[in-house]
Symmetry: D2
Subunit: 402 residues, 4 copies
């Protein structure tokens, strides 16, 4: 595993693996190999050169420490990687060395790599999302009749059902994921433009090579290179941030219900969850806490990405170079939040009895909605008489009626 | 006009009118009137009461200063407005007063008002967007063969055409606006839930009244009230921020081209634009500057909105109450940026000659792309020989091929 | 009053007055008058011209609507203001007109005006801060022995005293205000540099005029103009944001204590505070809510200001022009938060009895701190036996021992 | 080295070493050892236990991968570390195991560790700051008479000297570092409060142990634990962000001067700096680019920290847990920016000749400052005649006169 200790609360094991040095370098080399292959297929470079490049890349043993050091000087990891690859190819076949990275620019490799890594992240997120949706639907159905206090500004309000609350979470996440999915699809594009984004180095073969390369990497082929137009990535990161915020809202609701004085729901706990180093018996809402923490990290990160979008001319002066850690941190935040809330949703303990007692404890003051009072003839005994359209709304939310 | 001087660079006249006190109060009162009408239609309140409410609301003369002061104490402008309306209705017809705001909660009025105001903003933005698209398409076609230096990290790179650059801006804005439009549509929902979001005050008539009200206000009817689920608004604001950032990127490119030492393009100027209080002859890229300024304001505002999304239970404790100024400021920023760039695009002066001279001045060093050099047989005389797929990409960008 | 309705929850009456058109224009004209006076004193412009400028400025009747419109085109309100002033001066005395704004640039007037407005805001904030400190000290002393549950991650933990909690708020605000005060002092500088920041228009009289002007306006004289170096303002805004966040933390604590199920403290309410348009009996923590809302707006605004700090060469291209609304919104947020929390602190209802009952209700589970248990010989009857150094810490916090 | 490839542009080697797993764990264990020692000294735990804890901690061989995994579940790395340490101590001496982490809570260890790591970072930053100040002072002195165009909104304005420009950078960084230093000092506090921040587990020995521990770790002793009051850290991060922004402003200025069309200054380049994977001859302003990138990351990160400051009661629900990566990323950004700009400042190539030619090329239009023109008798031949107070300001900036 490759999560540094300093990031241990901000990353999942699954995604740390995707962003590990080994994984990133493998993808970068794959892109170079695919590029050579596409160019050979289109007759731009010799078939033989492409083969040598592939063989060398697949056996490549890189000094990562040195690579990282050189990347900081070069301003991109692609430069030292291409140099190292070229040297090794040249060592095997002098002439093949000339064709490494042919017609391409650093940003082509870096952006395409990022898109490919993001696709791996999407799969991790998708699995967790599906489990969460299933869990929430189940909770909502199970508690369709479980009355509880609504709370506005944290003060008691006329009752709802826990089923309605769960359906609200469910629908927000459904909408959120639908945006995330469509933004992943929208941003799953090859980056390939060469120095100025015109593929000038490929003469008249530009589009042909570009399409072959996109095809090989199973990426969409864009209308044109997007070196300095980052809106698609921005839209994806915005969607992920909004999705994470909806997870954060659910986590906050649950942590509030889990207060000792409220006691209406609780995280499952167990297996190292929620303990305290000073109070052995304590049960903390730790999965919710990590989710809230994640949702407090995404907004500023997204702001940073948007600020970076004002990229000068054909390649930005800092805006682009600031992106990698921002993108990684946002996706990891979504990952931690989703993984944590799957656990919460699947194991949530709901105390319907306490919910009913908490309603009773208010002595009916929260039924004092003007229009509700007008209907109340025989006093407040059954919260269920005051649920209005709660069940209708619940069903509509689960169906996705809007 | 109602833009305060302190906001004079951050607001357009058209949108300041939409967000003016008079406009906002009119919409709020319209919502109350429509609510009464829908409830009367569905038999929830007397027809007569709805009529009185309408008559009084239409003749309403409000003390805005007092209203603002009370709003700050109440934590929402809806409370003092409803109180004032109720008093006047009661003065005219004692019993009708009971039915003002029936079954509704402050947030219903405030959120629905916001949605209706945003729809007005959309229309302003749409007009500017269409003009900008037309202007950019024209620029791109006119300069399809105008060679100029690409610039990466602000250093010369192999040539592109100005037509390609304009097409890049065009396509980013087309994508951006398409997201904005779909998010406006997605968020154009009625808010109506009563105290807890269950329409408990309307008994079994909840959905019926809600649908009638949505219909009357020409809003979509949501699956359920969305008091504490702000993802749709967040997605709209994110889309507006990304659109503004793409405008900012275009503005920055043009301001850089307008540098005295580059001189390849210039804002039209004129009519009070771009002067200096100390240097009468100076021509500043002022429309671009205001656009860049706008695009530097949206990222943090969006971050604030996202942070506000963690709203507690059925109504947030601060997150919701922080929204209004944030939403207004983001929409105004998009408005200033769009209005400014329409002017720039429609009047842009392009100096194709200077572009060609700037290429020549580099002495061909920027043609030193490895793969390009391989093709250069007879030295660098015609930049046009090194444009690669620039024209193909340009055409694809205008068509929206991806 | 000049708070627009859309900003009614985000601005105080006192500060809206400071930032009103009338107030801003008065300060801008005062700066122009003081400039002419300083230049006349130093023999740079004729004494007579300075007198005419003063007379005209003091009688100036401006069309604000037109001014705002021209400001948006000019990219600064100073240009149309100087033009209007010059015209009127010229109408009275042709030759005096030449000396309006002599040797100065728009940014000189705008920045100096901002600094002078901020000084007015400081005074408002200082008054509220002093009241709050007094109130908190009183609360802390009064409840030095009032035991209550500590809560970590919203779960019960070994007891503290309410006096300690109040002392913690007190000390954070004391530290915060000390930073705010020193940053106000640090940024209270004249801006005066002319077109390029060299006072070239004043020949050899630059420093002399500059010092006279600073003196007249009761501002500090900087080592040099700071047109494109915004760090002092940034440091002030950061200090204000941190202070507001500490107010937000206090507000959140109180709102959590005010939950029906906890019931240990409550806002005073009254006079239009905390009502509900749907539930007449409800008591919302509205002053706390507005404070939390304010503290959710400052972080992104501060980020925007910091992003704007990368200002190009001698005057920025958008960064500077984006500042005004950001600065205003941050100061207003601090203002709303401070004003709201003064009210809360001065009227806070503390329920010591409920605090004790809430401790008892946990059945002693929160005393299960390992090291505490070691001391517990005879079971948990008196929370006071487990307060450790709470009182020592409380006293130190009030004294400011660190 | 421990910088992951994905962070290669956002971290320096020196700081990656400070935040490496080995370094962090060493500091955490040192804190536990010092705690035991302080408690033994004060007679709270047996001397023998403290010795065993020290011996075991110093020989500790931890499974980091497992630790990271458990940290994510526990919500803090302190819990698994304390558990692992306790087990090993117990294995050596059963009774000593009881005294590991005695009276302390996870946050005590984590916060104190962070403060100690930050002190290491301060030293790295201080060294770079001193070199930069020396370099800038030298540049400013050397070019005290080198005239160049001022540029406002990127348009030519009356001349300044390069010496003045460098002095402006110098002074902003001097001010910035002075804030950073005082905030480092302000935040260099021990965190030690036990479960609720009252040191209840230490009975009457709380303050005594706490002072001994602070003394041992060479940290300041706070008035009280600051578990949920994060203003000191926030002030440090704000100061670092502002300092980084001033570095970013300098980097942007230099990158703009390095434009081919301007050509007035250039980064030193060399040793892997500023190359291109597609254009071998290209010289990019790469150190400036990385600095700009760093300064585009801090604003949103700072916003995240400020948002996290609203921490509930005695320990936050997500706000605290979101801090670590934010703090690390801000300090690393400052580190990359400072290290990069030291290189730029020490090797900057200034082309005084080109500066003079660029002035001449404007044909004097930028001298058209109204007040300047009044002085111009014999036409514009010598830019030096129009420098106003440039030299006076330069000297004052270097001296720090304000």
């Amino acid at each position: 595993m490759s999560t540094p200790l300093m990031e241990s609360l901000a990353a999942t094991e699954a995604m740390s693996r995707i962003f590990s040095d080994a994984s990133v370098l493998t993808v970068m080399l794959n892109v170079e190999v695919a590029l050579a292959r596409a160019e050979a297929t289109c007759g731009v470079i010799p078939e033989h050169a492409a083969n040598v490049i592939r063989e060398v890349a697949q056996a490549m043993d890189l000094n990562v420490e040195e690579l990282v050091r050189e990347a900081l000087r070069a301003g991109t990891p692609a430069i030292p990687l291409v140099r190292a690859l070229t040297e090794k190819v040249r060592a095997k076949d002098q002439s093949a060395g000339d064709y490494v990275h042919w017609g391409s620019t650093s940003q082509d490799v870096v952006d395409t790599t990022l898109v490919l890594l993001l696709e791996q992240c999407r799969q991790v997120l998708a699995r967790n999302h599906q489990r969460m949706q299933r869990g929430l639907r189940h909770l909502s159905e199970e508690h369709s009749q479980t009355a509880m206090l609504a709370r506005t500004l944290l003060q008691p309000a006329p009752p709802i059902t826990f089923g309605l609350k769960a359906a609200g979470w469910f629908a927000a996440l459904r909408r959120g994921w639908s945006r995330v999915e469509s933004r992943f699809a929208e941003s799953k594009y090859l980056q390939f433009g060469g120095a100025s984004g015109t593929l000038a180095g490929l003469g008249s073969h530009g589009i042909q090579v570009s399409e072959a390369l996109a095809n090989d990497l199973e990426l969409r082929h864009p209308d044109a290179p997007w070196h300095a137009h980052r809106d698609r990535l921005a839209a994806l990161l915005a969607a992920l941030s909004i999705y994470t915020a909806s997870l954060g809202k659910m986590a906050l609701d649950i942590a509030l219900l889990m207060q000792y004085e409220v006691g209406e729901a609780a995280e499952p706990g167990g297996d190292g969850r929620g303990g305290s180093s000073s109070m052995p018996n304590k049960q903390n809402p730790m999965a919710c806490t990590l989710t809230i923490a994640a949702s407090k990290r995404t907004p500023g990160l997204l702001a940073n990405f948007l600020n970076g979008m004002l990229q000068e001319h054909e390649r930005g002066l800092g805006g682009w170079q600031s992106e990698w850690t921002t993108v990684t941190a946002i996706v990891q935040a979504a990952g931690v939040a989703a993984e944590s809330m799957v656990e919460v949703v699947e194991g949530l303990k709901v105390d319907a009895d306490r919910m009913r007692r908490n309603i009773a404890a208010t002595g009916g003051t929260m039924f004092a909605e003007k229009a509700v009072l007008a209907q109340a003839k025989e006093g407040v005994q059954n919260p269920e008489d005051f649920l209005g359209s709660a069940e209708v709304f619940r069903v509509r939310l689960l169906r996705g009626d809007d």
